[in-house]
C-alpha cells in the first residue's frame, strides 16, 4: 500500500523547507534511518532520515523546490505498485490546501489593509483616506506632513509633494531583496526581544594584559592555538557561576535560573547570524571549550548545525573586536536575559596606582540586560566580577 512521504519539521521553528538534494532516486529501496534528502530549513541544512520503509516510487518535489511542513514530497510503497490513483488524490489534496492557504492569505490581506489604513501612530492625524492609502503604499509617514485641506487635513497632493522630495534625494533605483528564511527568523526573534524585554546597558573597560599573556603561554604548549573567544567564554562562565541570577530567563509568571551555563557566541555566516552554543561551560576547561567552539563554527559555516547546537543559550557573547569596533550594544538573545558585547582591545595610555602613565591593552565590554530579570546593581556586580577575573585570570582556578 503506497504512502505519502511528507516534509517534517526538522527544527522547532521550521514551517517550510527547500530540498537541496535527493540522496535516493525513484526505484531505490528505503530502510528506516536512510537519508532521503537534504533540506534547507530556516536556520541551517539538515538531513531528512526516513522512518518509513519500502521503495521510493515517486519524487513529487524535485531538488530546489520548497515544501511546507506536511506537504507530500514523495511516495513510498511496494515495488511495481500502481500509484496513478494515489497521485491524483495527493494532487487534489494539494490544490485544496493551496486554495485554503490563498483564502487565508486573502483574509490576512484584507485585515492588513484595514490595519494599514489607520496605522497606530498616524491615527490622530487628519488625512483623507486616499492620502493615507498613498502614504502606506509609498511608505511615507503622515506625521511629518503638513495638511493643506480643510482644518489642516492631509490630502493626496500633500503626500505626493513629500514623496517628490524623498525621490529627489535618491540617486539610484531602490532594490527590493526577497527575504531568506534566516533573515525572517532573525527579524522576528530580535524584534520580539527588543520590543518585549526592557534593555539597558552597562559598560566597563578591562585591562587585557594578563589574559593576553596567559593565552600566549597556553599557545606555546599547544599545536592548535586557543582562540580569545574560548578564554572569554570560560571567564564569563566563571562570572555567571558567581552570579547565577544573571544566568536566568523571564517566564512571565516566574524567573527561571538555569542549571547549566550554556554560552552562545554570535557568528556571522555571510547570509545571517547564528549563535552556536557551548554547553556546560563551568565544568569544561578552556581547551575543551575552544575545541568544541571550533567544530561548531565550522558547522555553522557549512550550514550543518543541528537545532540543539544553536538554540537555548543561557547567555550570549557578541564579539566585534576583530572588526575594529571599540564598543557597541547588542540585542539580548532569548531565552537568555543578557548579552555581552566585546569591543576591540586597544593599547591605551592609562594611569597606574603610582600615577604614572602606562600603556595598557584595554578592552571595552557592554552588557545588555533584561531589566525584568537583572537589576542595575546586579549587572554592575556581574561586570565587576568579570573584570576582576579578566584582569587576574588566576581567579578562574579559585
Amino acid at each position: 500500500m503506497a504512502e505519502k512521504l511528507v516534509m517534517v519539521a526538522l527544527s522547532p521553528t521550521m514551517e517550510e523547507g527547500v530540498i537541496l538534494a535527493w540522496n535516493k532516486k525513484e526505484g531505490d529501496t528505503i530502510v528506516s534511518g536512510d537519508v532521503l534528502c537534504e533540506v534547507e530549513t530556516d536556520k541551517t541544512s539538515m538531513e531528512y532520515e526516513s522512518n518509513q520503509e519500502g521503495v521510493l516510487l515517486k519524487i513529487l518535489r524535485p531538488e530546489g523546490d520548497s515544501a511546507q511542513v506536511g506537504d507530500a514530497i514523495g511516495v513510498i510503497g511496494k515495488k511495481g505498485e500502481n500509484i496513478t490513483k494515489f497521485l491524483q488524490t495527493i494532487s487534489q489534496e494539494q490544490e485544496a490546501s493551496v486554495h485554503e492557504a490563498s483564502l487565508k492569505d486573502k483574509q490576512n490581506d484584507s485585515m492588513k489593509t484595514d490595519i494599514e489604513r489607520k496605522p497606530d501612530t498616524d491615527k490622530l492625524i487628519k488625512a483623507s483616506p486616499l492620502a493615507r492609502k498613498i502614504a502606506v503604499d509609498k511608505g511615507v509617514s503622515l506625521s511629518n506632513i503638513k495638511g493643506s485641506g480643510p482644518a489642516g487635513r492631509i490630502t493626496k497632493k500633500d503626500v505626493e509633494a513629500t514623496q517628490q522630495y524623498a525621490v529627489k534625494s535618491v540617486a539610484g533605483i531602490d532594490k527590493d531583496i526577497p527575504l531568506e528564511s534566516v533573515r525572517k527568523i532573525i527579524a522576528k526573534r530580535l524584534s520580539e526581544s527588543k520590543f518585549n524585554s526592557p534593555h539597558y546597558y552597562v559598560t566597563l573597560s578591562v585591562d587585557m594584559s594578563r589574559v593576553l599573556a596567559a593565552r600566549t603561554e597556553v599557545n606555546k604548549s599547544h599545536d592548535k592555538k586557543v582562540g580569545v573567544n574560548a578564554f572569554l567564554i570560560k571567564m564569563v562562565a566563571e562570572a555567571l557561576r558567581k552570579h547565577p541570577q544573571v544566568n536566568a530567563s523571564w517566564r512571565e509568571t516566574f524567573i527561571r535560573q538555569f542549571g547549566s551555563v550554556d554560552i552562545g557566541l554570535a557568528v556571522d555566516r555571510g547570509n545571517g547570524l547564528i549563535t552556536p552554543v557551548v554547553r556546560d561551560c563551568v565544568s569544561k576547561g578552556i581547551v575543551v571549550i575552544d575545541k568544541e567552539l571550533k567544530t561548531l563554527i565550522e558547522k555553522a559555516g557549512e550550514n550543518t548545525l543541528l537545532p540543539e547546537e544553536y538554540s537555548g543559550a543561557t547567555f550570549t557573547i557578541s564579539n566585534l573586536g576583530s572588526f575594529g569596533i571599540e564598543e557597541f550594544t547588542a540585542i539580548i538573545n532569548p531565552p537568555g536575559s543578557a548579552i555581552l558585547a566585546i569591543g576591540k582591545t586597544v593599547f591605551t595610555p592609562m594611569c597606574d596606582e603610582q600615577r604614572n602613565v602606562v600603556v595598557r591593552p584595554m578592552m571595552k565590554m557592554t552588557l545588555s540586560s533584561d531589566h525584568r530579570v537583572i537589576d542595575g546593581v546586579l549587572a554592575a556586580r556581574f561586570m565587576t566580577s568579570l573584570k576582576a577575573i579578566m584582569e587576574d585570570p588566576i581567579y578562574v582556578l579559585l
Binding site: 483623507s128 483616506p129 486616499l130 492620502a131 492609502k133 493643506s148 480643510p150
Partner: protein, 459 residues
Amino acid sequence: MNYDLAIIGAGPGGYVAAIRARQLGMRVVLIEKDKAGGVCLNWGCIPTKSLIHRAHVFSQLKSTEAWGVRVDTSAFSYQHVHTESRNAAATLSRGVEGLLKKNQVEYLKGKASLKDGRTLILANGKTISAKHIIIATGSRSKSIAGFTIDEDTVLSSQGALSMTRLPQRIVILGAGAIGMEFAYIFSSFGVKVTVVEMAKEILPLEDTQMASFIKTHMSKKGITFATSTIARELKKGKNLSLLLESTYGKEKIVETDAVLVSVGRQPHIEDLGLEKLGVHTKQGCIVTDNYGKTSMDSVYAIGDVKSTAQLAHVASKEGEIAVEHIAGKKNIRIIDPDTIPSAIYCEPQLASFGPSEDALRKKTVKIKKFVFPYQALGKAVATSQTGGMIKLLCAEDTHEVIACHVVGYNATEVIHEVLLAKHSELLAEDLAGMIHAHPTISEAVMEAAKGMQEGAIHI
C-alpha cells in the same frame, strides 16, 4: 459713497459674492441692470426646470392608462405652463432681493462701467468708489451668421422661454445641455423637434456612452437628430426653410416653424470699459488667476465672463473664492475642474463630473471602470425607471474616484455622493462600505463602488 467692494451683476455669481462679502464684514454695493438672480434664475436654470417638470408630468399622463385612468388633456394650455415657469422665476428673484436686504447689501438698479480700478460710473452719471470691484456681468446667447435672433421665429433660449404658444415644429441648433433640455420640453408637449449638431455626437462634452444612451431615449420620443451637420442657410417665407449640410457634403432642406439657436453663450463684457483700463481679455473672456483676480489688482471677475465652465454653481463658487481672496483669507481651496458637476435635466437625466472614459483612456493613468445598470435596482424596477446606469471610473491602484457619469432617473441628485467622495478623497471602499437605504437609486453608487473590489452584489 465709499465701499469695500462693488459688484456688477446680481446673477448667481454676483449675489452670492455680495452676501459672502457681507458675512466677512465688508461694505458692499451690488449693481444690476435687470433682475436679481441673473440669467440662471430668470432666463435659464430655474424657468427651464419648471417647464421640464411639467413636460415630464405631461408625458407621464399616458402611463396611468394601464391602471384604467385616462386623463383628459383637451384643455391643455401651454400658456399656463409658461405662466408657472415665470412665477417660479419671479418668486426666486424676489427671494434673492430679500436675501440681499437681510444681509444689508446695498442693491442698486442700473448699468455700470469702470472708470478706473476703484471707481464705477452708473448710467445716471453717479460714481461709486470701492477698494475692490468684481465683474459678474454674465453672458448672452451666441448667434450664428445667417441666423439673426429676432425672438419671433429665430429664438435664443430667452426667446424660447418667453413663448406663450408652442410652434408645431422647431429646429434646435446645438445639442448641448440647453439644446437637449428644450428638445425634451418641446417634444414632451407634442412639438416635432429636429436637433442639429455639428459634432459627431450629441452632448459632445459628456461621456459618449451616456450621450448615446440619451440619444436613443430621445429618438424613441420622436426627436430627430442630425449630427455631424451644420445649418447653412435660413430662408424665411410662409414657413421657415433651413439648409443643412452634413460634414460629408450632403445637403438637406428642413421646413420648420421656429428655430432655437443654442450653440453656446458669450461673455457680456463689451460696455464695461475694460479695454480702456487695460484689463486683459482673451478671445472675448476676462483673464484671471485662480482666485478671479484680473490683470488689475483691485478688479476681479467671476462666472460666465471668464473661460471657465459657464455654470451657475461655478459662478457662485468663484464669487465666494474671489471675496475670500479679497478679504485676505489663507488656504483658499481653488476649483478643480474635475470636481465640477454637470447636470442635464431631460429625462433620462444626465449628471457627471471628471473626464469622459475616452479622455481618461488617452491619459497614462490606469483606470478601473464599473458600470451598474438601473435595471438591477429594486427601486428603479418598482417605479418603472429602469432606463439608466452609473459609470464609475477609479484609479486602478489606489481606487481614487476619478470620474463618474450617471444617466437615468434622479441622476442629478445621485451624483453628489460620488462627488463628495472625490472632493474629500474618499476611496471606492468608503462608498462601497457605507450602508445605503433600500430601495433607493443611490444603491447604484454603492454597487458600482463594490465593483471596484470583488464585485457588485446585484449583477
